[in-house]
Symmetry: C2
Subunit: 482 residues, 2 copies
């Protein structure tokens, strides 16, 4: 190909891929010549070629534009911007790639408008969007210059102060200089784990466990050991004691409040026992407390951090479940590992964007966070009961459900060893998503469990989806019988 | 301590640490009782105790407030919000902790208002703040709900399209489905390295090399091998060939355009040779191209990606040097490793905040990015010459300077083996920062080099600072002579 043909092929390719939309202007001949180090005449020949092929058109005094093509349909709709979404990849091998599974579930919800029972995220509708946007807007309007020096780790001082105050209001006195702002709790968990353990180390987790813990452990070349976990009281202290007597554990990772997927709240006494046991062995514990604000009881649950006397609890949390997910603001309180986590934050992403930090700080300082949360909690608590009742009604005998004390997910045990990945695949065909139990264990346990999200408003569609799921479980149960 | 005394001590502590500011309202007695699961009378006793000690005061019909204390000074200034900044830690051991050094330099610039010659970041003043803020503002005003499903990896589709268009304008045809949005180039570099290499692997880097590469390599338990690098032409292809003949290299990490700290632009022919050599050995190369838009020549430099035929180039970039740093928007074009990097992005930080992505997308689509860049480039090119001339004028004989072809840093070789960490320490006492050469090598090379930032407007203060640095170098030189 000549230079001009190459250029023409490039541009045609960009049009085909939707990088250049119909009706949009191309770079001027001079610009293109400069940017690509081509002669003016080469660019002109390329543009002429494209024009003769009907890809672009020249408009006098204006330049070259991507040609708008007549369509067969009535409306002349613009193609959707951006790359086409991949079709959800279905993973059915014994080695379930959990992150792919989660991503493909979410994409399915979006592209097929599927019923979001399989989503790990809360319905964003109840988030106080008008208020948060108003603060973001006011910050943008102030139009100040921000310097990279301003919000270096540990993070924006205003937000840090507001987080310290919130902890105090919830009964936990924290030293603000211990708070490190992160990109969601996900980054906080990753950094905390890297601060306390090394490749090859063994990390004790609940069973079932929140899959992001398993991801973090696997990504860093560590190993998970799964400790029996009571669906009402949390990780077995006795089980953990037994493991500690036999092998070295580098750290423990738990969700003491409204664990995903079980939904329990560890009783205070057990929280204290857990911290004491680990402290005796000088083992750090990473606690993921992102559901803390979503309790159904009378008051905020305590966290492990409240029982920590040796700086061994690394507390992680975020606003993604309680206030706004897309702002991606989380934090860590890493106890005696604060300096390491701060350094790792700097190495991992340098800083967290300023605008989202300030918007949340202003909201917390000036607005009705508690009022918002009261409303959300009430809705979740109601729907927890409705979802459990509907599952028990529509699913075959032998189905078991959890009794969440907070949060927005229900854990469902399927009868007769029905395989949750099979259910996942069949449900997907009917535009319904579920969270297969396979995701919650590195040992292949919980293959006959699913997790259901009840943060969305209850509707006829929800009920119909649960009825369909019940029928699918029944079919799978029938097929597995001799 | 009794319960009420504990509560009182907690609150007093929060006041002392600045979590509760003077004049601010405490939680009501009922709130505090609920949140902390204490009886009303316990809270009342704690508040009375604090009142008797003068920490808080009650105001009729309003509640309890932190008492405002009279100050000795004239003005009744509020204390600065947030945690106190740590005093800059001075590292002078042979094992320089580079990330601490960078952090402490930046904090010094901020707290002491020191001369920012040691900063790695560009002066934010020329960033088009009013325009970017205007887009952020318009997005916030639209007040739409965002769903976590919207901007999952690879990222926001609008921004991805704009980045693909920008690459096309700069002469590189990219497939938009290869673009993955990250939290700055820092995250992109970390994810790309993790996608192509494992702990224990050896990574070839330039010498001197950009320290963030060394950080990433060290953090993942890999080893760096430093390849001789020409201050004008870049990494030695021959040197690299020699290394490849002797040992296994898992990947190569380079900055072909306006390398930090040398400032060279690799000639096109050498870029092509480098990619061909590595392709022959099937070795991936991570290219950090964050300074691409800051060229002094007539047109955009090409990048390694342009010569890639096998999908082995992982291109990383960001808007942090050219448009806005605090929005923290970067991206990767990971070639054949796209699926892995996308998955790692999901595991590392889930998604990148939506608002900054959209604001930048709108700016790129509607505004004068090229006009802004032309202005910035002109300023940098001028100051490169001024800074070099001033250094050669004020520093002792034997001092050498680089000839940057783009970007905003100058590399200065000190005469007679003067130690840059000693200069760093002495300069700090005079409120001047410099970037010691120690940061740019894992082998302890370049201890007699410094990096200077010339992105800030030239001023009497700059000139005075350079004069002072010159005198300090002279003193150190004298002291080292017998």
């Amino acid at each position: 190909m000549n230079l001009y043909e190459t250029l023409a092929a490039d541009i045609a390719g960009q049009v085909a891929r939707g990088v250049l939309l119909e009706g949009e202007r191309l770079p001027s001949v001079r610009q293109a010549s400069q940017h690509r180090s081509l002669s003016i005449s080469t660019v002109l020949r390329a543009y002429s070629l494209l024009e003769s092929r009907g890809v672009i058109e020249s408009r006098p005094q204006s330049g070259y534009f991507v040609r708008i093509r007549p369509r067969s349909g009535a409306a002349l709709a613009r193609p959707a911007a951006g790359p086409a979404l991949q079709a959800p990849a279905l993973v059915l091998s014994s080695e379930v790639d959990v992150s792919r599974l989660v991503l493909s579930t979410l994409r399915t919800i979006r592209t097929l408008n599927a019923v979001p029972l399989g989503s790990p995220y809360p319905d964003p509708a109840p988030f106080p969007w008008p208020r948060i946007s108003q603060y973001a807007n006011a910050i943008a309007r102030r139009n100040q210059q921000w310097n990279m020096m301003d919000d270096l780790p540990p993070g924006n001082p205003q937000l840090i102060r507001q987080i310290a105050r919130r902890h105090m209001e919830n009964g936990l006195a924290v030293d603000p200089s211990e708070i490190i702002i992160t990109v969601g709790a996900t980054e906080a968990i990753n950094l905390c784990l890297q601060a306390v353990a090394r490749p090859g180390d063994t990390i004790a987790v609940e069973s079932p466990t929140f899959y992001a813990f398993l991801h973090a452990i696997e990504r860093m070349g560590m190993r998970a050991i799964e400790v029996p976990t009571d669906p009402r009281e949390g990780i077995s202290i006795e089980g953990l004691r037994g493991i500690l007597a036999q092998q070295r554990i580098a750290a423990c990772m738990v969700m003491p409040n409204f664990q995903n997927p079980l939904g329990f709240q560890m009783p205070d006494e057990r929280k204290r026992e857990l911290v004491e046991l680990l402290s005796q062995h000088d083992i750090p514990v990473i606690e993921n407390d992102v559901y803390n604000e979503l309790y159904y009881g009378d008051s905020h649950p305590t966290c492990l951090k409240a029982y920590d006397t040796k700086g061994l609890v690394l507390h992680c949390s975020s606003f993604s479940k309680s206030l706004t997910a897309n702002y991606r603001i989380g934090w860590a309180l890493p106890g005696r590992y604060t300096a390491q986590v701060e350094k790792l934050k700097f190495l991992n992403t340098l800083t967290t964007p300023t605008l989202p930090q300030l918007a949340i700080a202003d909201y917390l300082q000036n607005d009705g966070y508690d009022r918002h949360l009261r409303k959300v909690r009430k809705g979740y608590e109601e729907r927890a009961r409705m979802m459990a009742a509907a599952v028990l009604r529509f699913f075959p005998e032998g189905t078991r459900v959890s009794e969440p004390q907070g949060g927005y997910v229900l854990w469902v045990g399927l009868p007769g060893g029905v395989d949750a990945m099979q259910l996942y695949a069949l449900a997907l065909e009917r535009k319904i998503t579920v969270g297969p139990g396979h995701m919650f264990s590195a040992r292949g346990s919980y293959t006959d469990y699913i997790r259901l999200n009840y943060s969305y408003p209850w509707s006829k569609e929800t009920e119909e989806a649960l009825r369909t799921l019940g029928r699918l479980v029944e079919d799978l149960l029938g097929a597995s019988r001799p």
